[in-house]
Amino acid sequence: MKKMIISLLEAHKEIGSWNLTVNREERDELYLIFDTVEQKRRIEEVLYHIEILVHKEKEKEGKRFTGSSSFQALPGESESALQRKIDDAVTAASLALNPFYDYDEFVPAKEKAEICDPLIRSDRARAMDEMKEKIFDIMKANPDVRLASSEIFLTCIRQERFNSKGLSHTSDKSEALLEAVFLTGEGEDEVESVLTREERFIKNIDLEKVMQKYIGFARDNLTAKLPKTGKYDVIFTEEALDNFFDFYISQLNASMKYNKMSVFSPGETIADEFSGDRLTLSFNPHIPGGYRSMDYDHYGTLTRKTEVIENGIVKGFSADRKYATYLNMPCTGSPGNTEVKTGSRSFKDLETEGTYVLSRFSTFTPNALTGAFSGEIRNGYVVKNGKRVPVKGGSVTGMMKEAMSRVFFSSEEVLRRSYKGPEYIKVLNVDIAGE
């Protein structure tokens, strides 16, 4: 079918460039309620993603324009059905013209992103059983805590990429998702903690360590109290790290700059003043097991590591081929994983008296346009008289610009999903609303 698609794309006179991605996905899912199987599922799916570019020259304006459109083809679709879809896409692309851009010429990749767990690729049933047994063993060792439910999804995707500039690339990637809910306590005082982790490699979930942590969170919730309202130093860790830098990831993407949604320019500082560490942030598409590791981006551009903030100063933007062309800036390919430089202080140095250490929130996603952040606290503690006193409820709020002016990054580093950087981020003087 892919040969038929390529042949139809190449034959179409109005298509300037095209991009075909074939994903063959196999997924096994296990659902447990306590220690009983609720459901097992197996999914097999083949999808063909096609993007086409139509280039037009408007004589009056003497300029060139490009329209793009994308669609999906399904296995078994007839040639005539495919032709119709392609014709519709060409029509659609011709109606929505933007300034000209084109894909890059193919460059062979020297490095290959390591993103497929060998056991997920070769024997998902065994991988599933091993995970299940390990989970049950860990629960046996913690008899005061119950595993209310767990879901394990193991996916292997074989991806083939082709485009009109000579790209021909095959890669396998895996996904391991674990969701687990822990209960402890009695009757109406029973509490829970919810673990969700998604990684490329099962080993990156680090089952033993992460389950013990979340079992601990459940136990903490038995005695956790509302935090006090006021301004405090807060260490963000665990789940808060997954989206902590979303504001900068968005704002330093050239698409935002082009659409006048970014307030940053190269050479500017990210905060008005600095009383702590200064942020150095890069996009790195080559971290083994990184969730956003890739050899080529969606346009077929060879990806590379890009530093966008250095010591608190904006260095540049991540720019795929389209926006690099529009803004006349270097093409970096799509941003990969977020990599943040660690600091010099250990967690022990940062965990001072009166500091809140917050691990879990209902949600914690700084606004991509304003930098405002907020989150209801689901798990954390405050250091009081040298002891860790659990807290829960209430909320933390702030603005990223202010946060980055008084921040300290730990020397300990962590890789979780698409983030590699300080395991602990301490921000001074953060608003907490509680008691």
Partner: protein, 463 residues
């Protein structure tokens, strides 16, 4: 092969499966649609991902097993069925185990959602041009708008459910319009949006221009607005925020798959008082025309209205097939999948507080100091702890019975759900249901929902 054409094949497969397993069913789904986005700097026309495939379900006597494929040939679907049966045999089939999923009353019917003007009958260039003109005219409303995006999306979903008693097909057309503006001033951004999503076609394309004007004015106030001083205040929730409150506070908490997992405090409060006596709350997938509605859920239960809270008392949960069976509860039409390739869970549809008798003016006039909180952006459930997190774009200060021009942004509402519900003292007289939302189970399994309510007067912690 079109989804509707699979009826006979799937019926035959279900029959074959049930020669060995106590219960079997099949679900097939597909989506066809287009999206048009015209902004000040770029534009795009895209085609909806088809999400087309089949899921076969078998109950072994102990648990469910499903197998899905998107290769829709008879050969492939039968192969899928054979693999499913093999898996069942390996796991062990036990018809005497005592658990039996309810196949429901016999019904064979095709359903079609409302549609006056089929968007596929219109010229694409006309739709794009209309979006372009709208973008230009809205941008001209204020110089602080640096990017004005008009989004039109239309789709139809075909869904087929087959078990031994039922062959049900539905086609649901949805039209979505969103106006999204970026305001900018002195290095600060403020995004604002308005719009709606409803069942129907092009007849719904024009979103209320007055609503965008109101949203724009709010956005201009917010550009340089500060953060609120955290505290507990007299509040009025807008209908949109009331809707999100209904959804997060008691919608998720009554999804009975959570009862099975002992994750819902609500399980201990069935037939007990959880809210002020005037509070009535519903989940209703048969509500005409709104985008969370359908004719049957993804497990074959026909749509009907479910009252969740009656006179302040929690009276019902929302079930899927599995939890209804195991908990011996009455089934409700809430078994829903994100798409054919996802599991069905107990999910909300259109969830709302019923309107009362108070006007907004009456609510405001005796507030000495408080806030009108509006424009919800995000929420999160906590069915075990009955905590709540609602995020809203702003709170507008009320002083001595009058709305002021003091705005604060953004706002997060947190608290203990029964405290909030029991603090409701006034309920507005007009119900409004918002159509743009999606709902996740935690951070995955996204389904289309709406939520709504009237204005609510209550006490809440804001930050």
């Amino acid at each position: 092969m079109e989804i509707k054409d699979l009826k006979i094949l799937l019926k035959d497969i279900v029959r074959e499966l049930e020669k060995e397993v106590p219960y079997a069913s099949a679900f097939a789904g597909s989506v066809t649609g287009r999206g048009i986005r015209v902004g000040t700097y770029e534009q795009n026309v895209s085609f909806q991902s088809p999400a087309k495939g089949v899921t076969l379900t078998a109950f072994t006597g102990s648990f469910f097993i499903e197998q899905s494929t998107n290769i829709l040939t008879e050969e492939s679907i039968r192969k899928c069925a054979a693999e499913l049966l093999n898996t069942c045999r390996k796991e062990g089939i036990d018809k005497s185990a005592g658990l039996t999923p309810d196949p429901g009353e016999p019904c064979e019917k095709d359903f079609y959602g409302p549609l006056e003007i089929d968007p596929f009958s219109l010229k694409l260039e006309d739709l794009v041009e209309e979006a372009r003109k709208k973008s230009e005219s809205l941008k001209a409303m204020n110089e602080k708008i640096v990017n004005m995006m008009v989004n039109y999306r239309h789709e139809y979903r075909d869904e087929l459910f087959v078990n031994r008693n039922k062959t049900l097909f539905q086609r649901l057309n949805t039209w979505t319009t969103v106006y999204y503006a970026i305001l900018q001033d002195k290095g600060k951004n403020m995004p604002v949006y308005s719009g709606d999503s409803r069942l129907g076609g092009y007849e719904l394309a024009d979103s209320d221009p007055e609503e965008f004007q109101r949203t724009l004015q709010d956005g201009l106030h917010l550009l340089h607005a500060g953060r609120i001083t955290p505290g507990t205040y007299d509040c009025i929730f807008s209908p949109e925020l009331s809707g999100m409150f209904a959804h997060e506070a008691f919608g998720h908490g009554t999804e009975t798959d959570m009862f099975l997992k002992e994750r819902a405090k609500g399980a201990h409060y069935l037939n007990k008082k959880v809210a002020a006596t005037a509070v009535q709350m519903f989940d209703n997938p048969s509500y005409e025309g709104i985008s969370g509605s359908f004719f049957f859920d993804h497990e074959g239960k026909l749509s009907e209205n479910t009252q969740i809270i009656k006179d302040g008392i929690l009276v019902s949960g929302l079930t899927d097939l599995n939890s209804a069976m195991r908990l011996k509860m009455k089934r409700t039409p809430n078994g829903r999948r994100e798409s054919y390739s996802h599991k069905a869970y107990a999910r909300m549809t259109n969830t709302y507080f019923q309107a009362g008798h108070d006007t907004l003016e009456e609510m405001i006039k005796d507030i000495k100091h408080g806030f009108l909180v509006d424009h919800p952006t995000n929420g999160m459930e906590d069915p075990k702890g009955w905590g709540i997190q609602l995020e809203a774009m702003y709170a507008r200060e009320i002083k001595d019975g009058k709305l002021t021009d003091n705005y604060f942004t953004p706002i997060i509402v947190t608290g203990y759900v029964p405290d909030l519900l029991n603090s409701i003292t006034m309920i507005g007289d007009t119900l409004k249901i918002s159509g743009l939302g999606m709902c996740g189970k935690g951070w995955k399994e996204w389904v289309k929902v709406t939520d709504g309510g009237p204005y609510l007067r209550l006490k809440a912690r804001l930050a």
